[in-house]
């Protein structure tokens, strides 16, 4: 006996599709995770003025470029949602691919940036500032990677006109990843 769809997909117990509710639950827990890390960083940073000598070595322009990349990929994600609403699966899949490309660009730029920083001796163990830097940005990067993988799976189905409701769901997750970076950028790259 097989089910054509997961039971949760067919049910709306809370007035909204269960899948979308689940994404908001995930985001609520991610707020606690990233809020915890960023809150801890802010407190420690205010208590350690000497970290200014370390934070000056982060590259604001690379951070700004990555912010541009993620904001643009968010635009592509919401355009995918607009296409899915019009039941245009291939169009939604196209925009999801662009979003994934944005994520890939972000990760490539981050790897180049980190390679350069590590070469100059700024590693995760060299100072508590760098420990926060690599942990926060690294955890964010893992979320970008996870989002990209899920997005590719959703895009593969969307291209065939299937499970179009998932386009919005992965889009909501992606926008949250973008929002986290919106706060990471000034903390790690601007407030030196």
């Amino acid at each position: 006996m097989s089910f054509p769809k997961p039971i949760a997909t067919l049910r709306e117990a809370t007035g909204m599709p269960t899948g979308r509710l689940a994404v908001w639950w995930v985001i609520a827990s991610e707020i606690v995770i990233f809020g915890g890390i960023l809150g801890s960083y802010i407190m420690h940073r205010l208590g350690h003025p000497e970290w200014a000598h370390q934070s000056i070595h982060t590259n604001t322009w690379i951070g700004a470029f990555n912010t541009f990349v993620l904001l643009t990929s968010s635009l592509c994600a919401v355009l995918a949602h607009a296409e899915a609403e019009k039941k245009n699966g291939p169009g939604a899949a196209k925009y999801l691919m662009y979003t994934t490309l944005g994520g890939l660009t972000f990760l490539i730029v981050k790897s180049i940036e980190w390679t350069n920083e590590i070469k100059h001796g700024y590693t995760i163990t060299s100072n508590t500032f760098w420990s926060f830097y690599y942990t926060a940005a690294g955890l964010h990067g893992l979320h970008v990677l996870a989002g990209m993988i899920i997005m590719l799976i959703v895009a593969a189905d969307a291209k065939k006109g299937k499970e179009l409701q998932r386009v919005e769901n992965i889009g909501i997750y992606w926008h949250f990843v973008d929002v986290v970076w919106i706060f990471l950028f000034p903390l790690l790259y601007i407030a030196k």
Binding site: G15, I31, L46, E50, F68, L71, I182
Partner: protein, 118 residues
């Protein structure tokens, strides 16, 4: 909701506004005035996050409890930070002194000044 199209502003226009805010948040801190940095870097981050949440995530047309759920998580984080911050940000209190942290600050400042003179 996702099955029905909903009225929305031009997403590209919203992206343009976000780009403009990004430029201001990068240029503002270059002026070097602390208050301007706080407003342009962090104030604008809050505005950008609101714009993404409202116009891209559509939190304004979701069921109200979603906003309450997300908002309550933010409040919990602010409470946590507020409760713990005196112990983390300060290195001494009425009956205690965090010697290790105070010495790390001294060491870090000395190392930083040495690096500047080189």
């Amino acid at each position: 909701m996702s099955a029905d199209a909903h009225a929305h502003p031009s997403y590209v226009k919203i992206w343009g506004i976000l780009m403009g805010l990004l430029v201001v948040s990068v240029v503002g801190p270059m002026i070097g005035i602390r208050v301007v940095t706080l407003i342009t870097a962090f104030g604008i981050a809050i505005v950008k996050a609101y714009i993404v949440a409202r116009y891209f995530m559509h939190i304004n047309i979701e069921k109200k409890y979603v906003a309450y759920l997300v908002g309550s998580m933010v409040v919990l984080m602010l409470l946590m930070v507020g409760a713990v911050s005196p112990d983390v940000m300060h290195h001494d209190g009425a009956n205690w002194h965090n010697q290790a942290a105070a010495e790390e600050v001294k060491r870090g400042m000395a190392a930083g000044e040495k690096e500047e003179h080189h």
